[in-house]
């Protein structure tokens, strides 16, 4: 299963370093398949490896701005 391997390799990089302590997720669409779940998680984790990915320091302000 390609997407699952991609996700596991994003979470457990072969070069080591950070150690996973806990992983949890929250699903709204209960018809999601394993392949879709893994693809979306892997895409998000890989996207945020880039320094340019948005990291929110003030979560209240971010959500407030989304509201307007």
């Amino acid at each position: 299963m390609r997407e699952k391997e991609r996700l596991l390799s994003a979470l457990f990089p072969p070069e080591g370093g950070a150690e996973l302590i806990n992983l949890k997720f929250f699903v709204l669409d209960h018809s999601i398949t394993e392949e879709e779940l893994c693809r979306e998680f892997a895409d998000a984790v890989e996207e945020h490896r880039s320094e340019r990915a948005l990291k929110v320091d003030d979560i209240d302000a971010y959500i407030r701005n989304k509201d307007h």
């Binding site: 596991l8 150690e19 996973l20 302590i21 949890k24 779940l37």
Partner: protein, 193 residues
């Protein structure tokens, strides 16, 4: 230390809404986590929710102490009030005990397989039930009981509509009826004992 201590701490608030920054700070100040990165993503198309990854980083920077860092990925297209629910819910996982954590490749693999496997109707209802229970946990934190009670008379008499309560607490409107149910009150009281 648990969600209960956090709920008790919120009794000091005079008015809603509960700030997610304040929850984050309270959790960090008590050493549950060193740093929380909130990461909005457009990659959750069908999934719709959130993903929490907590990691132990042995060497975050030269000469720095090891850090426990959490990344909370959440769907940037969610309505703002739902973002508050999912971000709060994920932060509550910092109170997870050792046996509730998922941290090995095998555990992650099983968690995903179990979620996405073809389910019987009962299994599916159980999953959905678990998710609703998790949202209620977040609601107990985002809507402290003393603040819910502050508006009860006006809400129950119809002077304040659901939309206004939702706006005050910054929660989804569909959760307001739950907020004023006897079940929610019992659950919230349990956390204050």
């Amino acid at each position: 230390m648990s969600v209960r201590e956090l709920v008790k701490h919120l009794v000091e608030l005079d008015d809603p809404p509960v700030s997610l920054n304040a929850i984050q700070q309270w959790i960090q100040d008590r050493g549950f986590i060193d740093k929380i990165n909130f990461r909005p993503t457009s990659k959750f198309r069908k999934l719709g929710g959130a993903l929490l990854c907590t990691r132990w980083i042995p060497d975050p920077r030269p000469y720095a102490e090891p850090e426990l860092v959490a990344d909370i990925y959440f769907n940037e297209a969610l309505p703002p009030t739902m973002m508050r629910i999912v971000c709060c819910k994920e932060m509550l996982h910092f109170f997870d005990g050792d046996t509730e954590r998922t941290y090995t490749e095998d555990q992650v693999s099983s968690l995903i397989r179990d979620w996405a496997s073809e389910s019987t109707v009962n299994e599916l209802l159980e999953k959905i039930g678990g998710e609703i229970a998790n949202q209620i946990w977040a609601l107990v934190v985002l809507a402290p009981l003393h603040l819910v009670e502050k508006y009860r008379a006006d809400y129950e008499s119809g002077r304040i509509p659901d939309a206004e309560i939702a706006a005050k607490f910054e929660i989804p409107e569909f959760l307001v009826r739950l907020l004023y149910s006897s079940e929610f009150k019992l659950l919230a009281e349990m956390h204050l004992r």
